[in-house]
Symmetry: C2
């Protein structure tokens, strides 16, 4: 049978343009031994993929040119030669940007609860939820009554970070772009304060939002926003460094105030992390997250773009702020 895929045609400079993506039709056969055939239902676009599009060394391998891009997918098993899967099973895993694919059954996991919207396995019940959980609880370690600030707060990771911090009894301040997103933080997610970084009074508003200083800053964006946050760190502040999306499309190295004097003054800890490093504890986190979602203690927002062909645009939306909450692409019903 024939299917469609999207390959990396060339490496991007700055914000990925249409030319770096190429649509192809490819022929696939029957699944081999231990393989299953999966039809993609939802495909995730995530900021970390931007790093893989460049060929610089990083914690993950760069995408290869002329091969399909690859990310988190929720799909339906359409054929199975693997004894743990049968037709109709819903699975999730790292899969190519391809409508139908044959892959070893060992590369995906079966989704047990299909009562929830399936795209949640690409957000709070998937990698972004795990990222929020481990980064906040294992590096940030928020204590009751402490102040937690999170940037990109309405996003897939940030929204979960802030809500877990509230569950732990913290005063939670979220930073996002525009009045709609900041209102969502307080009115829907239950954050104490939502701050708009596009507001020209952002620095003053931040000061007022953290009268007791900042104990935990969950870093998703970097850049000027982070520089402003660093001015308010308390003694022994913790800074899980998850992302720095403000600079992902920069073609030159981004400069800012050096961090060493700040870290000394506050005896602060700053730690970069990759969610994969916490794989040993994914199961427990999944149970906690699923329970919080079921009990409506963690709310989520997802922007669903329709159509496989819109993956590139959905990906770009991550960097322009045109998404709201978790951005996914619906590929099939």
């Amino acid at each position: 049978m024939k299917t469609e895929r999207i390959v990396l045609a060339k490496r991007p400079v700055g914000l990925p343009t249409d030319e770096i993506f190429r649509y192809e039709t490819v022929e696939i056969g029957q699944p081999g031994d231990n393989e299953i055939q999966i039809e993609a239902l939802y495909i995730s676009v995530d900021p970390y993929m931007r790093g893989r599009m460049s060929d610089s060394e990083s914690y993950v391998q760069p995408f290869k040119l002329d091969e399909a891009l690859n990310g988190h997918v929720v799909g339906r098993v359409t054929e199975s030669n693997h004894d743990q899967f049968e037709t109709g099973d819903i699975v999730t895993g790292g899969l190519p940007w391809q409508k139908v694919v044959n892959i070893s059954g060992d590369k995906v996991i079966k989704v047990s609860n299909t009562e929830v919207p399936l795209y949640l396995y690409l957000s709070v019940l998937g990698m972004p939820g795990q990222t929020a959980y481990h980064g906040l609880l294992k590096i940030g370690e928020p204590q009751e009554g402490e102040t937690v600030v999170v940037s990109a707060a309405s996003g897939a990771v940030g929204s979960v970070v802030g809500q877990i911090a509230k569950l732990k009894g913290a005063h939670v301040v979220g930073i996002a772009g525009g009045p709609e997103k900041t209102a969502y933080l307080t009115e829907t997610l239950g954050f104490d304060v939502g701050l708009d970084y596009k507001d020209e009074d952002f620095a003053t508003a931040l000061s007022e939002a953290v009268p007791n200083g900042i104990d935990v800053y969950f870093e998703n964006v970097g850049g000027d926003i982070a520089d402003e946050v660093f001015k308010h760190l308390n003694q022994f502040a913790r800074i899980p460094v998850c992302g720095a999306i403000s600079g992902y499309n920069d073609t030159e190295i981004e400069y800012g105030p050096r961090i060493q004097p700040t870290l000394i003054k506050s005896q602060a800890l700053m730690k970069g992390f990759i969610v994969g490093n916490y794989a040993d504890d994914f199961k427990r986190a999944s149970q906690d997250l699923a329970q919080w979602v079921t009990e409506d203690k963690i709310k989520t927002k997802t922007t669903v773009e329709e159509g496989f062909e819109n993956l590139p645009q959905a990906f770009r939306n991550l960097f322009t702020g045109d998404n709201f909450g978790k951005q996914v692409v619906k590929v099939a019903d």
Copy 2:
């Protein structure tokens, strides 16, 4: 009786000039209840004091204008109204820049071993030794076979850091200024490599010195040197941030490449610290350090400036690189 002191006459801008210091003769009486009278023998000058000369908020109180400067001192008890001290005892503690002072006996500690040169209580057997010990072992946690890089490596803290790292079985690279200091690192202190940051091939030499990357970077200087080191961090690198002397006299905030992408890529930990935070464990550290010094496993170098009136110049030498090893001032025999 009359004695002399040096007060902070005004706050410095940039490198402290003579005008910020004022010499005064003051009258002191007899020590009161529980007080002892101490004659200063050696007075320490340390980079952290620069921060206290400004009036910005920091982890320590700024020095007050028109009051004596204050730092670590080794002195001799000349009179005692405290039951734990008698005349002739050698004591150390944080004391004013003043030749003779009356102070509560609870503010100083008695030095038990007076066989070693007394100025060592201002370096390896004092605050700089404690700083090296706790920062390296509790944040850096060097493992056998790992690569440890330390900046300001011939200084009071850096020289001890590198030697402890060698005792722990690490490959140790020290960064210092000029051929005399770098030769001292390898020939006297036993570092594996000494690098001169003033060398125009510094970046290349650093690359060659760390073929297996860097696992621990003990940060004393910040600035361009640190930026170069950060390019070589291994996964899960640890960076105890002790000082950033390159910028202490800057009148404007220092800019450099933002650190977040580096920390994520290497899942690295960076932590600022103040030695006082480890006070609970000073005793054990003192015993270890004293033993290593006695066994000649830790060597030290001290630049002794003679004369109370030369304290300001000795202090300035810390920032111009004109000191070598620990800088102290000998005030009396």
